[in-house]
Amino acid sequence: MKNNDKEYLKTDYSNLKVIKTEILLTPLLIIIPLFVAGFLINNWFINGFSKSVSSFNGELMLAIIILVGNIMFDIPFVSSMIKYKKILSQYKKLSKKLKEIKLFNKS
């Protein structure tokens, strides 16, 4: 994790705007590969498997590769997002509390 600090451009991660791109693109990044894999499997099933044509086996293999490859990386990505969101909400709550106490202190 320490390497990453040097590896990536430092941005203010407490700023929601920065993370917004990531959150907005997440459904696309996850759903599109699943759709493509599903489409290829469907193609293989209709044109290959049900007609006993082996030429479509390549499509099935590609679909499995896309599916497995994506799921393999989607799981840690989504869990890191959930973790981030949890900590961010904790941060927001605490900042709010701090503001309240400061106001109270002033009064």
Partner: protein
């Protein structure tokens, strides 16, 4: 009556917790790391391009030609223009999530990735393009993860095996000896493309183009050795009348 001491103590506690949470947030730079990885593997879905009906280079204004030739080219042009604006400082790098530090003054790897994919789509047969795209989209992040956790040597070994697997899967319709030759040469090309780092040329470009060029040479040279490259495509284009 409110005790001032209690309030101060509470304030200190909240401040301490806030500092701890800020520290935690900063350690989740890892997020950018997984974001890049997911973006990489997402690229594998671009092979959907081959499901679209075949384009022809005769009537370039046909709908299918617009979709298969002009749209990818336009997307790459837009990406390049955005990158030029970012490098000139007209667009802040903060808008580009997950950029690496060395990409601040150099074109981002996604530009190289996109350019290489479009070159493969337009100028290479799908039997060459698909495994090369899979190498960049899947073998590259796998190698990255292995390197990150176990070391350089292990990363190259796993990367070589993964790339070989992609070439075997996509060339299974070819002669056995040709399939082995292509998968070994392709895997070596991909691993060398990934390993050889240039400041001005990203590995995302090299991992796709180096094996593609090597296999293209085999593709044209194979008939001289009495071997036939696979004529059948891996993905059959849809038949839609446009």
């Amino acid at each position: 009556m409110v005790n001032v001491k209690d309030v101060k103590q509470r304030l200190e506690e909240v401040k301490k917790k806030l500092d701890e949470t800020t520290k935690k947030i900063n350690t989740i730079d890892f997020d950018a790391h997984w974001y890049r990885r997911v973006f990489h593997v997402f690229g594998a879905s671009f092979i959907f391009y081959y499901v679209l009906p075949n384009a022809n280079w005769v009537n370039l204004l046909d709908w299918i030609n617009i979709l298969k030739i002009w749209v990818p080219v336009s997307i790459v042009i837009i990406i390049v223009l955005l990158e030029i604006l970012r490098l000139k400082g007209k667009i802040n790098s903060d808008h580009f999530f997950g950029l690496r530090t060395y990409e601040k003054k150099r074109a981002g790897s996604y530009v190289f990735f996109a350019v290489a994919i479009v070159i493969l789509f337009l100028f290479f047969p799908q039997q060459i393009a698909i495994p090369c795209i899979l190498c960049a989209c899947l073998a590259d992040p796998i190698m990255g993860e292995i390197r990150y956790r176990f070391g350089e040597k292990q990363a190259y070994i796993v990367g070589f095996i993964a790339c070989m697997f992609f070439f075997i899967v996509t060339w299974f319709k070819a002669d056995f000896s040709l399939m082995i030759l292509v998968s070994v040469v392709g895997a070596i090309g991909a691993v060398v493309g990934e390993a050889k780092k240039f400041w001005w040329l990203d590995d995302d470009f090299m991992i796709q183009m180096l094996p593609a060029i090597l296999i293209l040479i085999i593709w044209f040279g194979a008939p001289c050795l009495g071997l036939n490259p696979p004529v059948e495509p891996i993905i059959y284009p849809s038949v839609i009348s446009w």
